[in-house]
Symmetry: C2
Subunit: 360 residues, 2 copies
Amino acid sequence: MIDQTAVYPPEFTESIKDLIELLGDRLQIRQTAPSVFVLADENTARQCYPSILEHWTLPGSLVLIEVAAGEGSKDWTKSAAVLKVLSEKAANRSSILLALGGGVITDLGGFLASVYMRGIRFALIPTSLLAMVDASIGGKSGLDVGGAKNLAGLFCRPEAIGVWPGFLKTLPESELRQGMAEMLKHALVASKDHWHSLSGSQESVLREFRNSSLKAMGWIRESARIKFEIVQADPLEKGLRSVLNFGHTVGHAVESALLESGSPIGHGQAVLFGMRVELVLAEALLGFEDRAQVDAVLLDWSVWFERASTDIERMVHWMRFDKKRSQGTLRFALPKKIGEAVFGVECSEDEVRKALKKLW
Amino acid sequence: MIDQTAVYPPEFTESIKDLIELLGDRLQIRQTAPSVFVLADENTARQCYPSILEHWTLPGSLVLIEVAAGEGSKDWTKSAAVLKVLSEKAANRSSILLALGGGVITDLGGFLASVYMRGIRFALIPTSLLAMVDASIGGKSGLDVGGAKNLAGLFCRPEAIGVWPGFLKTLPESELRQGMAEMLKHALVASKDHWHSLSGSQESVLREFRNSSLKAMGWIRESARIKFEIVQADPLEKGLRSVLNFGHTVGHAVESALLESGSPIGHGQAVLFGMRVELVLAEALLGFEDRAQVDAVLLDWSVWFERASTDIERMVHWMRFDKKRSQGTLRFALPKKIGEAVFGVECSEDEVRKALKKLW
């Protein structure tokens, strides 16, 4: 029997050597000497894979599979190329896939490993802040179909999630911003203390990350813990887990609308915008009191993006197809105060339009 | 918790009305009035869907999604179109998919339902003999990637498998031949009695099917029972289930080789050829004694196909990538006598080449 709903916790390691030891143990690589395929994008292939290769002392050969950086690689049609490479390089049912990268790579790798020959074992090695605190945790994987984000997906189970925060040093500041979006979300829906830690000046927060300070490491672990505890309590998103959708109903819509218009923005940036819009709803519907203060922090982490290429109606269109929509009603997860959220809040399209207009 | 490995038994019904009642019960359609999507190919859309529609007395609207007939519709890239239609017609997590057709449709429908929005509920309504006795049973689904058969797939669980043998009347004789291939396989690996029932003159067997005689219905149920009992004992194909691969290692290879050459043959025909070749191996390696007699029956059900468009080396190439290959060795499931098979029999490529040459 396979329990597809068991959620695997992220495990933090102190060095690449420890990370590889962890993978060896969890995937029983010493015992089985499988062929090991490493899925990376052009960035992690250049900046992270060489360290893995250098410290690889386990049996089993490593084969690198490289895809283009960015959301485009999560496209259903494009992803077939990875399956073909696995086949050409004779990956079999005993082979292992390591997904080395940010959220796009962990989503793509988790999905493809789960379907290749009806499923091979895999592990996630998140290298971006966003993947470390969010995307790699919770057993969800997904592909985009014709621009619709995660329209195809699976609940699937990695054998391990190995985190080595040292990989963060390879990240540009824009990527730290993307990860901060989800960390701020975790704080807003689940922990007032975490919010107070993270809502200091942007410069000071970035400095801690750049120095890989103990403080920054603590923030990352705390965000990962919040995500893990919520998904462990509700692995199949029957209820509680949907608080993590805060910012995402609007966020996915803006992300899809800009993707189809040819001016894509990152997921984290879309979520920052989504949270700002949804806080307008939280204020109107739930009496959320700290919108001005919270909005200032979210805006601080946001980057300007060109709005002209799409419009509000196109976003409403995408929201209609958002998978969280249930039976004709738009439902939102919203904080009622900092650190406490509710889910299943019904909103009409007009209420959403009004909130969007306020910030578009 | 989801037990992905529970295997659903086929349920035989006496009329379309009973079939629809069964679906209503198993999918709780009366209670939830979901939107119901029916996946069909151009043949079953014309010949089977109207009867379903006519007798549909359940709540919930029916939406037909039609794809081209034939293996081509199981292609990974093409299948995205079905996901897009589901999305455009606002299928949500409460929606249901009914896969109405032969093995291509049950494979395609099972896979896509399992990944659309991370999984919606689905049922299979096999309309071909092959799907009734084989493809719809056992929780496997699969898509072809770049010509490689079932390179992507899932173990997934329909809520129901509703069989109404009346649909067989819509089938051309060539389709009955495809189904007979798997029925003969079931007999050869698991039941001498079943073999003796099925190995009568082809004309008399076809007559029983054409008349939907009680005898023919008994054969279908017996083949479905054999398949179900084997997969129930070993849902994840850790061992025993692989006896069902008899004829399929060579069969998939010839199917893939002819598909890429532009002269595709049906799965059943490929399996008939595969069994004939693999019986040469069974005779050589396991002392199988009745090859001449069995080969005559298999040949009787076979249809001539053009061999010139591919060759033995191309088939060996595809066998190398066959997913049943484990760690560099070709392994076969072979009968040692009629009604009794073993699995995991190692063969060298040269032994396989020799057997292929005998019949190519």
